[in-house]
Symmetry: C2
Subunit: 479 residues, 2 copies
């Protein structure tokens, strides 16, 4: 008779099955009930078996779904390199839209492809049903809603709920300081139009999300790409050099928390320094704080606006990454530019419709939003870690990887300066859609990087996709 307890013997059996590939990463482990029936063991032994394998890192428990096989842990990849705080390239007009939209169009032409390109969560991550219920309650209570003009600057209830949320990120805002917009994209448009004219120079993080570059291009603004750390965000030293070289910088645009695509979080000390620096130089500071609620920690990350003492910081954010991709709810707290932003918003698109605002206000004040965010943070952390482990396990040597402390994406430096657009094309052929680094800077400095979205629950399909992507990267890198 075997000396080891029964659960250990069973665990060894399943460890071997995993090692042999009979159970692959992402597969569901037989249920406790199935183990009891198959091996004639007690409930307690079956449970102990699973817990033991979990403690060894071979299985993971998913709430209400049972145990699943985890990818093998291997040595982690080296992090993406830190930039030098050098003088940036000359300010230049952005000419990225054609490139970006061609890439987006090629991706959209393959709706069958596994989408690792979008910086957003899968629909299952969002409380759509609760919001639907809230919207139906609003409609039942206000049957005349669609017949009445929409409130100027947004509904009072939603703006009050946002002001409450802002407090958690250490911003002291009244409801009247907030203007509701069509997503963060409209907020950024308004902020830039408020402080800059066509031809003006705006400093941005490099790399940054292509949405911002497209906005700059469409507004006829010139961009100064400032080196940005995957750990601590925009380089304050490089920004200082840039401001000495360019007397006419009108604004700095940053994503202070969980920067896209790097996932960097600016330390609070950097935020304070940046706010003071911008004020002293009379340069408007525009923040896109869309991702702040998606960090690993339940303690909210302070906004740049929290360090604003003079109204010089324009705070922009939205809810379609954190709460509802199907709503286009963003907002702007324009500080001292409020009259001008109000005018621009009115002349550009008039106030937003009320229904989504009212439904979300109800969801926020009921506490549903906080509960949802706690779940979402845990789920995203899990998804980032699983994908990070898979990339580390499968990608060839020379790959560098950042698994950031929050948000939707991994930022990957390809080995041997491999062209990300070649990887994009080859992956799309293989039914996998990624975001090539070429989309994230006008300069071409990140052409050999990839952004991979971790927005979907981990699965065998994802594991296999990362494996195929890795094989493809290896083939292209050595060909």
């Amino acid at each position: 008779m075997d000396a080891a307890p029964l659960y250990r013997q069973l665990a060894t059996h399943y460890r071997q099955a995993i090692a042999a590939g009979a159970l692959a990463p992402g597969d569901r482990m037989p249920s406790v009930r199935a183990l009891m029936a198959r091996h004639g063991v007690s409930l307690s032994t079956a449970l102990q078996t699973c817990r033991h394998l979990e403690s060894q890192g071979l299985l993971e428990a998913r709430p209400r779904s049972g145990y699943f096989v985890r990818p093998p842990r291997r040595a982690t990849l080296a992090p993406v390199e830190e930039p030098h705080p050098s003088l940036p390239d000359p300010a230049q007009y952005i000419g990225i839209h054609q490139r970006v939209s061609a890439i987006l169009a090629r991706g959209q032409a393959r709706p069958d492809a596994l989408n690792l390109a979008v910086a957003c969560g899968a629909p299952s991550l969002y409380p759509a049903a609760a919001l639907q219920q809230a919207a139906m309650r609003v409609l039942r209570h206000q049957p005349e809603l669609f017949g009445r003009p929409v409130p100027f600057n947004g509904t009072p209830a939603f703006r009050a709920a946002l002001a409450q949320q802002a407090l958690a990120a250490r911003m002291t805002l009244g409801a009247d300081d907030i203007i509701v917009t069509h997503g963060c994209v409209e907020a950024l448009n308004l902020a830039l139009r408020a402080v800059a004219q066509p031809g003006d120079v705006v400093a941005v993080e490099s790399p940054t999300f292509y949405g911002l570059l497209q906005i700059l291009e469409n507004l006829g603004l010139r961009a100064l790409e400032i080196p940005t750390s995957p750990q601590t965000g925009i380089s304050l030293e490089a920004l200082d050099l840039a401001a000495d070289a360019y007397a006419n910088i009108k604004a700095v645009v940053v994503v202070p928390n969980l920067q896209n695509p790097l996932g960097a979080i600016m330390p609070d000390a950097h935020k304070a320094r940046l706010a003071a620096w911008a004020e002293a130089r009379s340069i408007a500071l525009i923040e896109d704080d869309t991702y702040a609620a998606l960090g690993n920690d339940d303690t909210p990350l302070p906004a740049l606006k929290a360090f604003d003492t003079s109204g010089n910081v324009i705070h922009c954010a939205s809810l379609h990454k954190t709460l509802a991709p199907g709503m286009r709810l963003g907002w702007i707290a324009p500080g001292k530019w409020r009259p001008r932003v109000e005018m621009l918003k009115y002349a550009q698109s008039r106030p937003n419709e009320a229904l989504s605002q009212l439904a979300v206000a109800e969801f926020m004040t009921s506490g549903g939003f906080e509960r949802h965010l706690r779940r979402l943070r845990a789920q995203l952390r899990e998804q980032r870690e699983r994908m990070g482990e898979a990339v580390a396990a499968y990608f060839p040597a020379g790959t560098r990887l950042n698994v950031p402390p929050g948000g939707f994406g991994l930022w990957i430096e390809l080995p041997g300066k491999l062209s990300s657009e070649r990887v994009f094309d080859a992956a799309l052929e293989d039914c996998i859609r990624v975001s090539p680094g070429v989309m994230f800077a006008n300069s071409g400095r990140f052409d050999h990087y990839l952004r991979l979205s971790c927005g979907s629950p981990w699965s065998r399909e994802l594991d296999q996709a990362i494996r195929r992507l890795a094989a493809l990267v290896e083939r292209l890198a050595t060909s």
Copy 2:
């Protein structure tokens, strides 16, 4: 015994009551049942009495509400003067926002005032409950709607329904030719940004709605104000003179059907000439066709786009005047500028939320929209005529008036070049809010005009307000 039939005797009695003011315009006539009880007459006599008074223009029947006292008919006022097709003033940057927003703010600070300023119908004119029901059906059928990203350029169902509607206005558009926007205001922003750069010259109607002037101001465009007829719209002769004088006109913006504030409808022959002229001159033609469905006639008015043979006409429109003030649903059919407008829309605000689009698509395909429009047209016609009669009855000599064949407003020329802003201030003091002509042109050419909204059902309160407004105009004109 009186020789006249009983119903005539009763009619005389009530005619005297009306003449003496015991029954004032807008008052409800005692019901048929009340007449029977009060005077001991038969149903047929009571009915004959009311019909006789109606045939004499003293009463009006309102469906399901009974008979009401009409304002006295007097000689109609002379129409507002036709402009000379002269060379316009030099192109100029617009500086109207401050003036307009100060006037709007003064008005909004008096929420108790009777609002004759807004170019929109009262909530009771719109089928809010039916749209609420449609929205709730959409939410029940698509409970995950808020969790899914919104469709690019708008939902297919709504765009298809709009393409169907466009057919009625003689435009041949596919669903793909249409991009859904945040109201007509965003559509106009996109159209202007697509065809003009800051500093460029754009020809506009004069007078025109201040929303357009604010857009031009905010985009840094210069305006050429083209004389516009209250009957036939923009002067094609003046436009031709302007194009000879200015080689660099980038666009002409017109409201071809029920122009705001004039109520003019361009004859089809003018529309055809203008479309051909703009194409031959390579000047983009932008139309705001928001009011087309609100004419007296149930036959739809053709859009300018119906006369477009080369994609040179950009069609902009919306539903918040015709269907739902509480939705911000507009659209643009950008013709040959479609790729550029798609890019600008994406970079400016991303696609619209889906819910309103889906609800309206259902309402449109069910036939509810057409039924609603027939009712709305009849109601607005009634309201315009009642207010027109009251203005004609009460305003002092020298007033000129247009009661247009559709839409929301009356355009009134004040006697003796009286300042409309003085009238605005005095009226607001007296709890009546109007739109002074000073808001409708950069040039100041319409400072002695008023726009009065006929968006609300006629009532005794409205009759009294017009009477007070008239007294106030008379006092100011002679002081």
